[in-house]
Symmetry: C2
Subunit: 372 residues, 2 copies
């Protein structure tokens, strides 16, 4: 266990649980949602606004930051905490997903992932070891291991590829564990295995045996049904240490979150609230508002009359719609603050409901809202 890092579960309600995750830069009440700060900032939104919206921890993308400004620069500025405006806890991903999805041509072998830099076209290599080293320079409180994500398929070749990726993910996790040097940084392992429940479970047992400070469910959100996903998460969790935090990566809509929380998930990240905000789609408990729609042209109501965010306290649907239409970046900013507050407040309500033993009824309410 790293210095300054611990996890304590305070309350349970069925599979759902409330905990406190301590890090060297502050404690996080779980279940928690991590806003995505790709380049070290949630686009257009300040650290003060994130704090006011209830954010406890941010996620930054290692691949993006290594491209610009480079982890050496951030290391020289005191890591993410010194470089950015957010002094609280940071989680960084390994960069593996972005390397294969965003960079120029990439090739994966046992050593790691070779890719072309989007900045200068140069060939670069991301390995389990360099992924840890880059994240150590970034100075995040929680680093993620490099993993291999394979889509599930039905033929025998796809099944074999899925199994090979899970096995490689386990070998890479061993290399990651050996590569770590920082005592003040937690590292989370990642479970792969696609939609094959037995494979995921076996992979989880192998990853758990390596003794990470937390465990993530990878390779989900790629097309499986939400109920199937919740079943996979629940089955996999049985193979993970109950006392460790569990993180469902890159998921999802509010209903996905409450389903996963029922299956025992403690941590989430997702671009949905901020990406939707930039497209003018705002979350409310009654469903989403598509603010670019002409029917909001003269709508003087706040985006969500039940919301306590800074945007809803001061601005109308008509004004935010106008700003989005004229591409004034204040529009995306105001919408982002609202959507983040919606997600972060939902998690606050989830924690309260779990403590009160009423999580199931909150979950049903969230699932009933047409928020897609």
């Amino acid at each position: 266990m790293s210095t300054g890092f611990s996890f304590a579960i305070d309350a349970r309600d069925g599979g759902a649980r409330v905990g406190e995750l301590s890090t060297p830069h502050g404690a996080i009440e779980t279940p928690a949602f991590m806003p995505v700060a790709t380049y070290g900032a949630v686009r257009g939104v300040s650290a003060d606004e994130l704090r006011a919206a209830g954010a406890q921890i941010l996620l930054a993308n290692t691949y993006h930051l290594e491209e610009r400004p480079g982890s050496e620069v951030i290391d020289g500025q005191g890591g993410l905490h010194g470089f950015t405006g957010w002094r609280g806890p940071w989680l960084t991903d390994s960069g593996g997903y972005q390397v294969t999805s965003l960079a120029g041509r990439s090739r994966l072998d046992e050593e790691g992932v070779t890719f072309e830099s989007s900045i200068d076209g140069s060939r670069r290599l991301l390995t389990p070891e360099t992924a840890i080293q880059i994240q150590e320079r970034l100075g995040s409180d929680i680093a993620m291991v490099l993993d291999e994500c394979q889509p599930s398929g039905t033929d025998s070749a796809a099944t074999a590829a899925l199994r090979a990726a899970a096995e490689r993910t386990l070998r890479w996790a061993e290399r990651s564990a050996r590569a770590r040097r920082r005592a003040d940084q937690a590292v989370f392992g990642i479970v792969q295995g696609g939609t094959d429940s037995a494979l995921r479970r076996a992979n989880a047992e192998g990853i758990a045996a390596l003794g990470f400070e937390g465990y993530a469910h990878g390779g989900l959100g790629l097309g499986e049904e939400p109920t199937q996903r919740a079943d996979l998460v629940a089955a996999t969790n049985e193979a993970l240490p109950a006392a460790s935090p569990r993180y469902l990566m890159g998921i999802g809509y509010p209903s996905d979150l409450v389903d996963a929380i029922a299956a025992g998930i403690d941590l989430f990240d997702c671009v949905i609230p901020t990406r939707h905000a930039r497209h003018g789609v705002l979350f409310t408990r009654e469903g989403v508002l598509k603010l670019r729609n002409a029917r909001f042209k003269q709508d003087a109501a706040p985006p969500d009359p039940d919301c306590d965010c800074a945007t809803c306290a001061q601005h109308s649907r008509a004004y935010i719609r106008h700003l989005l239409r004229v591409n004034d970046t204040l529009g995306a900013r105001l919408a982002s603050v609202h959507n983040l507050r919606f997600y972060l407040r939902l998690l606050e309500e989830v924690r309260t409901a779990i403590r009160a033993g009423s999580f199931d009824s909150l979950r049903e309410k969230v699932r009933a809202a047409p928020v897609r």
Copy 2:
């Protein structure tokens, strides 16, 4: 004089003066700088941030707002004060300058300016009367008359065109004065005449005879030397009522502001601080910083160690440079907050210096800084 509108001069130092301009939505200490909120917002910056930076009054562009969302919409939302997040005083321009510079093909005759809408290509007509009517719907505290701006030239055709434009501006000012209906909105006349001092002075006498609540110097900043501009302003001011506020439109750099203040100017607006910010050019008393320059890559200092703005209190040159490079809109926002605070604080220092009788020495200091 409109209801709720007055101007009182408190102190003088040479030609410079400190005054208080009262409007229905609050008082403005002059000399004052008005941040430009083209579409009803200073791009990416919130009303709270503008207030914290010391803004007292904002300028909105009538042409832009009439195109989107339309003055009818804003009227229906309680005018600019109800529609936007800024509840303090607003000044609107007439839209004339934008119609001729930004809209599709435009044609100017005695009736007004015919132009093609950039939204739907339809033919529209902006007249002295409709310019006032649109601004009355926008509900600004100060409206501007429609004027005709002609570049100065040296041949006899250019001289004749300049004279004709000044005479038309005077006739349009008469029509504007007759068209106004709102008792709670001030209207400022605009003096034209290019760089012809005698023509400007004669035009000012005609405009002043119409009895507006304030007077603007139009058609400057089009290539004349700063010293020539200050001379033109000073000469024209002699023909304007000393007790009325004087506004130099669309100007300029800090040195231009102090020169114009010495010539008796009370109000300014300019896009320079916000436009420069978006391009990564930050003002300091020691000169400008071009933050995109590689030498700031590892610079942990705040943009301006002497600045008291929210950006300089929390962020480094290296971080803002990074955000600008990755096109995170937080970068332009943080830079805008700083540059606006730089301008607004300069005006605070100007007012203090005028009251103390030390304006000349402040002016010399500002002129010495290489801020272009």
